[in-house]
Symmetry: none
Subunit: 454 residues, 2 copies
């Protein structure tokens, strides 16, 4: 391993230049004018992986290409899939960037540019760790396949189709994904649980047009009032969700987990200041970190009804609508939850308005037992690379592909994120810490050792 | 009177063309981009009244101009003010109009266009009745002053200032306003009571920006959820308003009034079909007519929060807002009610969101004893014009200026509305019945006879 680690130390400048070249591709999957850039970037990736000696292909899809690169498969060796995505979020609003989003620059040990952290820099660390093995002639203890896609930021369907089609080649012992976060530069972390998601739109239809509130008001039910009544009863005063059965499948937080979450660095005052509220509010009996990482939620994302312009308009609006997403935790299932929500709303919706319940996308929560031998191996790799005791994290967000890997490939995922909380993912001035980049390469190098001998 | 009535019969087509020209002005007082249109329309009105021989002026105000036109004042003659407004409600949503709101068209004896019924068509009937007197050389039994303003739909303050400034010239025996409704084409009515109004906007401010619902959701109060909770508790299951003190000053419906209201033609089935709901809903213990004419209400006119576009956006919105208007009945007072509402909302609003309560325009309810001699004269004019026994109505709408006339000029108001219940006032496809338009001209012609000799 010494040669591998020395190679990594010696080549940081080269790696940074390569990452800058990678970030220069404006790979905005949501914007069709960047279609050509997406292809050019995928081709560049193919060249890079081929140059390392990987068996590499660019796979066309109905959307953006998927790049696959593998080391030779050897009998008796464990095989791991390393996932990343080369597409990025739109860079707008451009005027808020201190340097152009696709003209990466290094300032104070940090690389600025759209995609530097989410996700180019994070999977590039894995590519470079593999390079160190290959260039130094060090025996790679596992077989690896890189899968780098271009539709993560748009939730595109190409990856699922691809996984199903290439199920055999992609069969693996686990998937490694660096697309989550670590709480600080010296706080390495394995994320062992993610929240799931269930979305729906609720529309209440009242009169066949907006009615004059003077002529009709009092005798015709106002759908905006009913919407507030229906949604207003979803939470009780203690922040609990009152929908019958909502919590039925929730796996309770263990004492051990609560202890672990309490050890995370957290200042309520800084957190309040960060989000700009004078008081926090969440489900009673849980800490803010528990509430946002390990408890389910019911959030209204948008409300629309009646007149929203300047001044006032004295109407009973003909309809009122809400967009809602719920974050789910193990072992809640989106379909079951959506059915319970619909039943609850239907039960309480009066006959005087008509209700349209439109279920949207869903995503199951994710859970990997931290005692799983591969999780333990990942923790050892983190410990070696960062020289610190790693944290075990639950994350409040959702990563739908993790469920695809489990369903299609039957594989668990090791979430070894390298993004710092202030990396400005999805925001202007996205950045990637170059020390974390280097530590991430070490982590990846150690990971194959630890996973091979777990 | 024969010449007057014949003149009216002979000129219907001309009157309709004039009314179409009038409706073509997009006089949306709430939208500042129509400022110029407001002025052009007022100038057009001045021309029309001057052309009849009235002493006419356009009066600039801090808001939109007021048009005043008078017949010469004669000693010993009673003087009546005829009020109307040339401003209209916003036409949005435009896509629901079968023909453009400001491109009026006649279909099946009905004129379609924003403002056709509310209020251009209604006061145009009075202008045309006067024209019939003047063009036929028939002696006008009373002196008349037309006052046509442009801020009715926004509750603008200019009229009140104007009334105060021109108090002497405007001193009158009563005001005549056609801005209410009649229950059917052959059901003429005098409205002796109006509901008042109190408007406010409620804004709840949560985090300092839209937050990622995965990273933060559960630990930061969602202002859209709080908005629903606050507004959802305003009504109980029986449709009563739960705000303490809300009903304190309500003058109860007398037995006589309830009997009168019960005699109004009303079919619940037709009413349900008219508004397009499968069940009505209102305050328990009152009939639909009582609910909409003689009981106070609390209506949400608009809701806005977060993401309202296509698809979903997983956020905790940074704010949520509602526009609300309440209809009040004698003897509720807007200021007192607004104070009670604000206290109620403040009491129930949690510290985890910031509340902005912005009181808007208000208007006291109105009441005129139906036995008043001028009310009796008006009933006789209705009887002659429609050849039917007129009804005595309470109306659910509000006409704030009626209170101004009483306070500033000391004058009662005769409410002789010409709008049919399905005229779509304030809604897409507003229309005005041309037979009612013609009957309204007759009513106006007879009114001056009856009021002169009451």
């Amino acid at each position: 391993m010494r040669a591998v680690l020395e190679y990594l130390e010696a080549h940081q400048q080269q790696f940074i230049e390569e990452l800058k070249a990678y970030v220069r591709f404006p790979t905005v999957s949501a914007q069709s004018r960047h279609r050509e850039d997406m292809l050019r970037c995928a081709q560049w990736l193919v060249e890079q992986l081929r140059h390392l000696g990987l068996q590499t292909q660019l796979h066309e899809t109905a959307g953006h290409p998927i790049v696959l690169g593998s080391t030779p498969r050897r009998k008796g060796r464990r095989h791991f899939l390393v996932y990343g995505h080369y597409d990025v979020q739109p860079p707008e609003p451009l005027e808020l960037w201190q340097t152009p989003p696709f003209d990466p620059s290094v300032r104070g040990g940090v690389l600025y540019g759209r995609g530097a952290s989410d996700n180019k820099g994070q999977h590039w660390a894995h590519v470079k760790a593999l390079e160190a093995y290959l260039r130094t002639g060090t025996e790679l203890p596992c077989d690896l396949t890189f899968l780098i896609e271009g539709e993560e930021e748009v939730g595109g369907p190409s990856l699922e189709t691809f996984l199903k089609r290439h199920r055999t080649r992609l069969r693996c012992d686990a998937v490694v994904v660096s697309d989550t976060g670590l709480p600080g530069r010296d706080l390495p972390a394995l994320t062992y649980s993610l929240r799931g998601l269930a979305a729906f739109e609720l529309e209440l239809i009242g009169p066949n047009r907006d009615l004059h509130s003077g002529i009709f008001g009092g005798s015709v039910h106002n759908p905006a009032v009913v919407l507030c009544q229906l949604l207003g009863r979803v939470h009780d005063a203690r922040g609990r969700i009152t929908i019958p059965g909502f919590y039925d499948d929730v796996q309770p937080l263990s004492r051990k987990e609560r202890q672990r979450l309490r050890r995370l660095p957290f200042s309520e005052r800084s957190y309040r200041r960060l989000v700009g509220v004078s008081a926090l509010f969440g489900e009673a009996g849980y800490t803010p970190n528990e509430q946002r990482m390990a408890r389910p939620t019911f959030e209204i994302n948008g409300l629309t009804s009646g007149y929203q312009g300047e001044g006032s308009k004295t109407i009973i609006p003909s309809s009122a609508a809400a967009k809602v997403t719920m974050r789910l935790v193990p072992n809640q299932q989106p379909q079951k939850i959506l059915q319970r929500v619909e039943a609850f709303l239907e039960k309480h919706c009066p006959r005087s308005v008509r209700m349209n319940f439109r279920p949207g996308h869903g995503c199951s929560p994710y859970w990997l037992d931290p005692d799983h031998p591969d999780a333990q191996a990942a923790l050892r790799a983190l410990r070696r690379a960062f020289d610190r005791e790693p944290l075990l994290l639950r994350e409040g967000g959702s990563i739908p592909i993790v469920n695809r890997f489990k369903e299609v490939l039957g594989a668990e995922t090791l979430l070894l994120g390298l993004a710092l909380p202030d990396d400005n993912a999805h925001a202007p001035n996205e950045k990637f810490d170059l020390e974390v980049f280097a530590r991430g390469q070490h982590m990846s190098a150690w990971l194959w050792q630890e996973l091979a001998t777990r």
